[in-house]
């Protein structure tokens, strides 16, 4: 089945059975391995992407559900340059092994898009669906808080 979607701002068409997981479509035919698989059942959040601006687990979404919709992956967040969010993860210890980082960045992006000045509690709530085993989360919270500040100072632009 031919499916047309907007992927990281560009119109893309794939020919796949509609029940193929969005995660497999992204990592395979669409050539975007930045989205990771950690559990395959919607628990770890490593495969979080934005679907029409909302964070979803790409392992629980079929490619057929993406027809005519907009998908943003980690590759789309930092094109062409590192934004404050990605940079703050590097600068403030938000990434260690990095496997949860793409999903974590997507959830953080979804939060900052609707809450430019989140409290630490709101940050923790927003990333509660993204498991990290390395950091203890404190530095991820710090990174997102700092990115929010920089974005507000820059006038809200990503």
């Amino acid at each position: 089945m031919k499916i047309t979607l907007t992927l990281n701002g560009l119109s893309r068409e794939v020919d796949l059975p509609p029940l193929v997981r969005l995660l497999d479509a992204l990592r395979g035919p669409l050539g975007l391995p930045g989205t990771k698989e950690g559990c395959g059942e919607g628990e770890c959040g490593s495969c979080t992407v934005l679907l029409d601006g909302e964070p979803v687990n790409a392992c629980l979404v079929s490619i057929g559900q993406c027809e005519g919709r907009a998908v943003t992956t980690v590759e789309g967040l930092s094109a062409p340059h590192l934004g404050p969010l990605a940079r703050c993860f590097v600068d403030h210890g938000g990434a260690q092994c990095g496997i949860c980082t793409p999903g974590m960045l997507i959830s953080a992006e979804a939060l900052l898009a609707r809450r430019p000045d989140p409290s630490d509690e709101e940050i923790r709530e927003a990333i509660a669906g993204n498991l990290c085993r390395c950091t203890g989360y404190q530095r991820i919270v710090d990174s997102i808080r700092e990115a929010a500040r920089e974005r507000r100072e820059a006038g809200g632009a990503a």
Binding site: R27, L32, P33, G34, T35, K36, E37, G38, C39, G40, E41, E43, C44, S46, T73, V74, E75, L77, S78, L82, A86, R87, F89, V90, D91, H92, G93, A95, Q96, C97, G98, I99, C100, T101, P102, L105, D120, I123, R124, E125, I127, A128, G129, N130, L131, C132, R133, C134, T135, G136, Y137, Q138, R139, I140, V141
Partner: protein, 758 residues
């Protein structure tokens, strides 16, 4: 643009001690970092899968491939196909595939490979194992009692004893009698039994490798901590010359010990399938298989009897440790050793006897996990001292402070501490920052159904391999001079998230005066990097970082000598030297400080050249209706010697502490008849951002004279040690319930409450 030469010749502020951006950061935040399953498919590549035993113990009578299934494009490997059926670890007792005996559930029996993933899954179901089930031994105490013999002659993987003072007698019976007498003559005697459970590493990236063969031999790329462990296993398993085995680390999504020894197994499996099929084979575990089949933290039972004076001076200590090694020995002797060496805690004792034993059970082999035996015994000794404090009517931290090791004191192995003992400062800082004393003195705060409490622990962890380990390992690194006066570090120490490649660059840059961007870090591949020893045991920065520093300095000195002879800047001198000598490389091997002495036969001497120390404080809320525990604040002051990169250092401490909190409160492998009931992220619960408390970490720097960068010590494992006992002490403060067994699940606390009332 600055050049290497300018940087080398002009003084600049040091990189060590600053938070430079991690050098693999940009690739990780853009999704470009290539983990093993992100590597492009190779032409003809197959997927690999494993058929595993559904029962914990059985005789394997036969294997049948369903004749109705089309096997034409499926590669099948069984034990009978193998010339060598041994996984080389400390010894080679674990088979690569079960041949006639099943010794644990999920034991690999048949390997399959197919280009079509869906067909591969069907093929797994089309293999029938003819099994004659036997009664498994699942309880280590039954194993020790030899209810049945399932491993070796007596089920015992390893025994150690440590003796000190009056118990230091060669005859075990006389020593045991002496420690009993020493305890009996003490003014206050306290006994206790403390237990800990399995823990899954749960790195977010599952285990995986890609294997292929060509005219140069076998190539394995994978998610792994120790390229040379896998190398050794492949050399043994295929009876190959060392230079025909090529092991490369892909970007690795967490390890925590889980990717220390296990990758040897999956690498052998993928390489066998690749050899038989003649095609590259990609083997990536799904989460369920990963949780079921791979290693976990050893469960332990510790029985402690101690004697002290009425004024709280600790005198005599007897500990019996029993660890569950699982079906094969693998790394268990080393885990047991580290557990025994940390069992006396961070305290002075006159007389000590520690008897440690690990036995086999019909469960998957337990293995390396951050802390490596120490969190189990530190849980026991910290809880025990809390009991002693109860008995004496003292605050536990006052009692602990009174007995903490100081410079010049001797440990249970008779090691005299020669400095870099920052424990008193850690205690002071953590207790002050958390307001421990004021909160402890106030009566238990109960508001509605919520009780608040605060508790603490203090502990140490040896840095580097135990005893003579580093002498045997002889870890090496190479530093090469590159055109333009740049340097390249070649080491088998891997970055698995902790920041090795960034920190090694900081060390090399400051050792030479070069800029960070002038230092390359080679991809860890056994064909290219020397064996620096494994990436384990809190040794990477302290031991391997130390030789990186020496090697970098050596290369820079040769360039500077050339500069002095013939002039020009650093880059020009480097290029001249390279033209003259073609290769300019320093290959440096680690040497223990000369004063380190260790006797493996008596378990006496300098168990580690130095220790890291820490004090952890946890504040909790306990819901008195549900007995759920929430950690509301966590403080740690940690003596790291010297923080090369403070943010990464704190990242280690915070991440390790949260793993300890998870182990204490939620993480529980549930077993039934030798099978795991919760092999998924849905029901094996690790902490989320909402479960994790705000963390407040203080770095204490009591420099280690032989550590790199001005005195760095190991920090990787230490933060796993203190969280659980600090939380248990806080729960005790809040509720009066004294927990001896982990995890502190509501049902366990209810049991304690019921027994207290009863």
């Amino acid at each position: 643009m600055t050049t290497a030469a300018q940087n080398a010749s002009s003084a600049r502020p040091p990189f060590i001690g600053t938070n430079v951006p991690r050098t693999d950061g940009a690739s990780k935040v853009t999704g470009r970092a290539a983990y093993v399953d992100d590597l492009p498919r190779e032409p003809g590549e197959l997927f690999g899968a494993t058929v595993r035993s559904p029962v914990p113990r059985a005789r394997l009578r036969g294997i049948t491939l369903d004749p109705a299934f089309d096997w034409s494009d499926v590669t099948v490997v069984r034990a009978s196909d193998l010339a060598v059926n041994e996984v080389q670890c400390i010894t080679a007792e674990q088979p690569i595939l079960a041949a006639d005996q099943i010794r644990h559930a999920y034991e690999p029996v048949v390997l399959l490979a197919c280009a079509d993933k869906r067909k591969l899954a069907q093929a797994v179901r089309a293999v029938k194992l003819d099994l004659e089930p036997l009664t498994p031994i699942l309880d280590p105490e039954q194993s020790l009692a030899k209810v049945d013999v399932i491993w070796g002659e007596d089920n015992v993987h390893k025994r150690f004893s440590i003796t000190k003072g009056r118990a230091d007698l060669p005859d075990p019976a006389a020593s045991a009698a002496a420690i009993e007498a020493a305890i009996a003559s003490s003014e206050v005697v306290v006994r206790g039994r403390y237990t800990t459970h399995h823990q899954e590493q749960l790195y977010i990236e599952p285990q995986g490798v890609i294997a292929r063969w060509d005219e140069k031999g076998v190539h394995v790329t994978g998610s792994l901590q120790c390229p040379y462990y896998v190398h050794k296993a492949l050399v043994h398993g295929f009876d190959l010359a060392a230079d025909r085995v090529h092991v490369t680390q892909a970007v690795t999504g967490g390890g925590f010990g889980g990717k220390e020894e296990y990758p040897s197994v999956i690498a052998l499996h993928a390489a066998l399938l690749a050899q038989k099929s003649g095609k590259p084979v990609r083997m990536i575990y799904d989460r369920k298989e990963d949780i079921e089949a791979t290693t976990k933290r050893h469960p332990a039972i510790c029985e402690i009897v101690s004697g002290c004076d009425r004024d709280g001076t600790l005198r005599a200590l007897s500990i019996r440790i029993l660890m569950d090694g699982g079906a094969y020995m693998t790394l268990t002797p080393v885990v047991l050793s580290r557990g025994a060496l940390h069992a006396a805690g961070v305290y002075r004792w006159d007389d000590v006897r520690i008897d440690a034993v690990a036995v086999a059970t019909n469960t998957p082999p337990n293995g390396a996990f951050r802390g490596f035996g120490a969190p189990q015994t530190i849980w026991a000794i910290e809880r025990h001292l809390d009991r002693v404090a109860q008995e004496l009517g003292r605050d536990p931290m006052d009692l602990k402070a009174q007995n903490m090791l100081r410079e010049g004191d001797t440990t249970a192995t008779g090691q005299t501490l020669r400095g870099s003992v920052g424990v008193a400062e850690c205690l002071e800082k953590a207790l002050t920052a958390s307001g421990y004393h004021d909160k402890r003195k106030a009566p238990p705060a109960v508001r509605g159904r919520v009780a608040r409490g605060i508790g603490a622990s203090v502990f140490m962890h040896g840095a580097g391999f135990t005893g003579s380990g580093e002498k045997h390992l002889k870890g090496r690194v190479a530093v090469d001079l590159l055109p333009g006066g740049r340097l390249r570090i070649r080491t088998a120490s891997t970055d698995i998230g902790q920041g090795t490649e960034t920190v090694f660059r900081q060390i090399a840059a400051d050792a030479t005066g070069l800029h960070l961007a002038d230092i390359d870090f080679a991809v860890p591949s056994t064909s290219y990097v020397p064996d620096s020893g494994p990436t384990v045991a809190s040794r990477t920065v302290m031991v391997v970082g130390g030789i990186v520093e020496r090697a970098a300095r050596e290369v820079a000195a040769r360039v500077r000598a050339e500069q002095e002879t013939s002039g020009g800047d650093f880059a020009a001198a480097a290029d001249r030297l390279l033209t003259k000598e073609r290769e300019v490389t320093a290959l440096v091997q680690y040497e223990h400080p000369g004063w380190v002495t260790w006797d493996d036969s008596t378990y006496k001497g300098d168990a580690y050249p130095v220790y890291g120390y820490a004090c952890d404080v946890a504040e909790v809320e306990v819901d008195l209706d549900t007995l759920e525990v929430t950690v509301t604040g966590f403080w740690s002051a940690t003596d790291v010697g010297k923080a090369i990169h403070p943010v990464m250092c704190k990242g280690q401490i915070e991440g390790g502490s949260l793993q300890a909190i998870g182990w204490a409160l939620w993480e529980d492998v549930v077993w039934k008849n030798g099978l795991i009931q919760n092999p998924r992220m849905t029901n094996y619960i690790i902490p989320t951002a909402l479960d994790a408390p705000p963390m407040h970490v203080d770095l204490v720097e009591a420099p280690y004279a032989y550590g790199p960068g001005g005195g760095a010590k190991g920090v990787g494992e230490l933060p796993m040690d203190g969280g659980a006992p600090a939380i248990a002490a806080a729960v005790e403060h809040a509720t009066g319930l004294f927990a001896r067994d982990l995890p502190l699940l509501p049902e366990r606390l209810l049991e304690l409450q019921t027994n207290r009332k009863g």
